[in-house]
Symmetry: C2
Subunit: 203 residues, 2 copies
DNA sequence: GGCATTACGCAACAGCCGTAGCGGAAAGAC
DNA sequence: GTCTTTCCGCTACGGCTGTTGCGTAATGCC
């Protein structure tokens, strides 16, 4: 894809590192609105044009920062769909929780959409971000879809279960509560959700 | 709540009407980014300060415009949960579809988050918008929760079904596809979704 | 070494958001 | 009628986003 060796002067990796550090720090402590590209440039000791040479808009920068703080969630079928899905969903919730903004104390259990909502909005605003976000979720979800298929093949789930729909029910409920209704998401809710979803799918 | 009679000079209702018209038109044809408060003021023939006297930020104005284009979705239990829920969810999808931006052709069936994502982001940015949005959804969803309860009491659903969780699965899947994965949402998908959800809940 | 290419820092700019101050207009309160 | 309160239009402003132009630095290619 990308030519390994590019023609002119190479990008300063030191600048990359300083920008990433400054942007991450400022984004978490300020939130999207008060997060300013100018300030990132100053804090990183870099000209603003250097930032815009890497990301065409503030949205692209923010999404890149958020994407970088996403770590892999282990997905593995260990022979118990209920336990495996519960573990996975709880990991997702933890990941979302870690993306809460520093400023907002977020009364315990409160679902603070924070940066997730900004990423969704950025995806809606810019087609290229939308494609990238979708691709990321397709890749992540593929593992869970395989897990569901394995559980079905192992006889834990009905033959005619639709993995995609089943997963939409699980993940959708979480994101719906996070982004729309703002209701709390705890381990108790995850348990209730998995119970409700699996009741119709269990063999 | 609000004092019916206020003290000083009353707000110009003519200005209200012109602002609403101009804002709605410009928002739909431009999208959130290119939608400019200055331009609304010019198009409405009104000073910018008149706008900011009504809405403290651009986000508040946008959310107000979007809220005004939401019409009531009829919810009624007619004795067939599957049909009733399917009808309701399809109405939701239609409503979301109507909020698509004029500019984006949205390849048939494509879920274009458009303004929905912006409202979610605005809710995450401003606590007062968040509260208002949540209250709106609580009110809307209350009708569907009652529908589910009636169906349960009528013996169509299990005794121990949890209406809130069940509804999260349904609505969540739709918004998840719309906002996150961007996968298409059609009547066929709604059918598959309702089938999957009701299978575990049916008595 | 010389050339094309790309990155860097710096400065200036247009457009937008949101605020502040002003004179004047339209209502209620007395 | 007078006073107070609130709205209106106007102007100006600070801060942010994103762009442009310029001189300079670093790399590959010949």
């Amino acid at each position: 894809m990308e030519p390994a060796v590019r023609r002119g002067r190479p990008r300063s990796e030191a600048a990359d590192a300083r920008i990433n550090g400054a942007a991450l720090e400022l984004l978490l402590e300020r939130g999207y609105d008060a997060f300013s590209v100018d300030e990132v440039a100053v804090k990183a000791g870099v000209a603003k044009t250097t930032l815009y040479r890497r990301w065409p808009t503030k949205d692209h920068l923010v999404v890149a920062v958020v994407a970088r703080m996403q770590d892999e969630v282990p997905v593995e079928y260990r022979g118990d769909v209920r336990a495996d899905l519960t573990r996975y969903l709880n990991a997702i919730v933890d990941g979302l929780d870690r993306m809460r903004l520093a400023g907002r104390p977020a009364a315990s259990g409160d679902a603070s959409a924070g940066l997730v909502a900004e990423v969704a909005a950025a995806a809606a605003r810019h087609a290229d971000i939308g494609s990238a976000v979708q691709a990321m979720f397709v890749r992540r979800n593929a593992l869970v879809l395989r897990l569901i298929e394995e559980a079905r093949d192992a006889g834990e789930l009905c033959e005619d279960v639709e993995p995609e729909v089943l997963f939409d029910q699980l993940a959708g409920a979480l994101y719906y509560r996070l982004l729309i209704t703002g209701r709390p998401i705890g381990t108790a809710y995850v348990d209730r959700l998995v119970t409700s979803v699996l009741r119709g799918a269990a063999a």
